[in-house]
Symmetry: C2
Subunit: 217 residues, 2 copies
DNA sequence: TTTGAAAAGGTGGAAATCCCCCTATTTCTT
DNA sequence: AAGAAATAGGGGGATTTCCACCTTTTCAAA
């Protein structure tokens, strides 16, 4: 058995240069040992059993598999893993989901090396770490919209939503989904009602802003 | 005068940890000297006269002032500056504008240290550097849509567009803009025709995907 | 086993959009 | 000075969306 008082860390982010930065900063902390890295959630999961890290710094939005899903799966396998989310602008939408998935720390990408160390210390002590106004923002959103992420759309509603985004009319969607135009219309109404939007254009805006639809990523 | 054969470089990106990564990689190249960094275009411009870099690695999308605008202004002042754009997913939309603004190199953020050096060598020799399929993608887009960035919207059309995204009806927009609902309708038609979209929902999708409207960033 | 959500479908009407056509002024740009 | 945009406005009609209220079937969870 080797000396076991250093913290084994993994870094997951799709930008190699960013990983380089995090690894460099972490390597300057002598009790930290970077045992692995990955460019997306899927690769991370495949490396997990091999490296068994204590802490993982996890980007939130990545291609292939995003941070939220990766964290859910990883914690299902290794509940003692500490997850620190790496967040950049545009990720605000996912804060709530990331916390529900089990992240115990957040570091803004625009933050510096000190924040990385502070977060690491906190989670290793079993505490959680949320920088500055992040918690405030989050609580504000939740209190404001009442669990705003709980807008759960049914399978059909999601299908209709993406078709709306692509500019199809009810009749065209009906033909593609093999259902009546009237049913599509009903799904449409349900979408507006659930999201609290006023018309299709507003719905599309909302859907993108809340990560309900993507372009490609 | 000091030894003048090292390349003076600046790094502009809103993520401190990412800058750290680029700086670390660059610092391992002995002929390179990192003379400054900035977290957005505005700060970069204010530091430009002080540091007079030969090359700048410039993120494309940043808060405050984005890379395209920063490059335009910087090159207006210092035409001999070499600009290498740092691109991540979602930035594809801006490739064309970035090149028109005067960027002579592109590095994907998911690329590694070698690409950084290759790009640097290329631009210092007066060449331009575009990784792999980036040029192909770009040319494909241009040939496909015929200068797709040249969808230039008038002031009014832009105003109407953002109001459409916010879910307003023609009558409501008319009241806000102090014009007739019929005129708004005409602008609406013009928007659909110019963008080649089929209806308001499709228009919103297109507008966001092409950077015509933003949420906040 | 009942309760409920999801999916499918429907009537009907008011409102809004989309898409042609057209005119007139103003304001930039050659 | 001429032409091209941009802005503003309109008629009219076909299509689509939005909304309120209603039925049936299916399927999973309490």
């Amino acid at each position: 058995m080797m000396t076991n008082d250093n913290i084994k860390v993994m870094v997951v982010d799709d930008h190699a240069l960013f990983r380089e930065g995090v690894k460099f900063v972490l390597s300057q902390m002598d009790r930290v040992q970077v045992v692995g890295e990955a460019e997306n959630g899927a690769v991370f999961l495949s490396l997990l059993k091999r490296h068994l890290p204590d802490v993982v710094f996890m980007d939130i939005s990545m291609p292939e598999m995003d941070g939220v899903e990766a964290v859910e799966r990883a914690l299902a396998l290794y509940p003692r893993l500490k997850v620190i989310a790496l967040s950049s602008y545009g990720d605000e939408v996912y804060y709530y989901r990331m916390i529900r998935a089990g992240a115990v720390g957040f570091v803004l990408k625009k933050a510096g090396k000190d924040d990385l160390e502070t977060a690491l210390d906190a989670v290793m002590k079993g505490e959680s770490y949320f920088p500055g106004n992040l918690m405030r923002k989050l609580l504000f959103k939740v209190s404001n919209k009442g669990e705003m992420d709980n807008i759960s759309l049914s399978r059909r509603e999601k299908e209709v939503l993406v078709l709306i985004c692509q500019g199809y009319t009810n009749t065209e969607m009906a033909a593609q989904l093999f259902i009546s135009p009237k049913t599509v219309d009903n799904h449409r109404s349900a979408l507006l009602q659930k999201t609290g939007t006023r018309n299709a254009a507003h719905l599309v805006m909302f859907a993108i802003a809340n990560g309900l639809v993507h372009f490609d990523r």
